[in-house]
Symmetry: C2
Subunit: 206 residues, 2 copies
């Protein structure tokens, strides 16, 4: 993707809207100069982003130790098809957050963070599913990343072709892409009815 | 995401299938211990992955200088909804490739790489769009990353609940997610008919 200066945004409303539509972010850390990028479920709660996982996770261990991290969230909105290969592009919205993680140890905040993680993935579900036991709380590591140093990049709209190419007999425009949900698949022991929030699932439809 | 050892795969067929279905990867680099993760269009060609962009891109400059990099590609396949918040998960397929980029300078290989990048994004389109001029070739930097050190992680299937939770009256199962294309939107100066490969677009449908 071409990341032109004109595509940068720093206002929190733009940044938050992208973070709230996304579901999986890509977390980068460095170890002896080697970068590692791992996909992780995340959820924003006001001025911070929560990540969670097993206490045995080496990545989460590094994150709570204050290792510098980068969380990048990308929403792919479409292919931009130009009349020349050179001017092909993608429509997307992305956010990059830089900072240092810190462990969430307070049990109340940890519980709230876990509820936020479930609720952001599937609104309505956090009140249905059984909440974490004391043992499960202990078996979950939660990391908070403050949204202090963050920026968004957005590319939208039609292709921009070279002036002399507009006469070429080539289809040009956008092919919109989005995340779509299929029909829910109950597991083999599920006897409960399908909740309404599952039959109408969509991201960014609000 | 919980990344258990049992989910790791190292065979090239599994890795290549994920790389070929993906469109945008997340590229990580380190600068003075600070990681940066940037979304980029990529395309696999046999044993290497191509990235491209403007020669003015600082990231691409770092990559061709042999800075250690990580390319991560994630395909989100669904939400895994358990009877307890603790056992919620995601179904996904991801690949992590570690290595060092090198600049593609040979004009023939550069042209082939650019064709591969267009063709992987939209099969059929590389023969329709005007190919790069000499000037456009010069204005494009292409980076190759060898697929030497790569691994895949896959989580698929229903939730795994705690034995005592199966009796809870909570819906449990999978909500499949996929990338879906909307109706193509021609730009305001487009007079060409819609090509057949655009009206039947899908990723991973092959």
């Amino acid at each position: 993707m071409k990341r032109r200066a004109g595509r940068a945004h720093y206002d929190r409303a733009t940044i938050d809207a992208i973070l709230d539509e996304g579901l999986v972010g890509h977390v980068g850390v460095c170890s002896d100069g080697q970068p590692y990028v791992i996909p992780m479920l995340y959820a924003r709660d006001e001025d911070r982003i929560y990540l969670h996982g097993s206490p045995l996770s080496r990545l989460l261990g590094d994150l709570v130790d204050g290792m510098p991290m980068c969380l990048t969230v990308t929403l792919l909105d479409g292919l931009v098809l130009a009349r020349s290969a050179f001017h092909h592009s993608l429509n997307y919205r992305s956010v990059v957050v830089l900072g240092e993680g810190r462990a969430v140890l307070d049990r109340g905040q940890k519980l709230a963070a876990m509820r936020t993680l479930v609720e952001r993935a599937l609104a309505g579900h956090s009140t249905d599913a059984r909440g974490p036991s004391e043992q499960e709380l202990d078996a979950t590591k939660v990391v908070a990343l403050a949204i202090d140093e963050a920026s968004a990049k957005i590319r939208a709209g039609p292709p921009v072709d070279a002036a002399e190419d507009y006469g070429l007999p080539v289809w040009a425009g956008e092919l919109p892409l989005r995340v779509a949900a299929g029909a829910p698949v109950p597991d083999s022991r599920c006897a409960a009815p399908l909740p309404p929030y599952l039959s109408s699932y969509g991201r960014g439809d609000a």
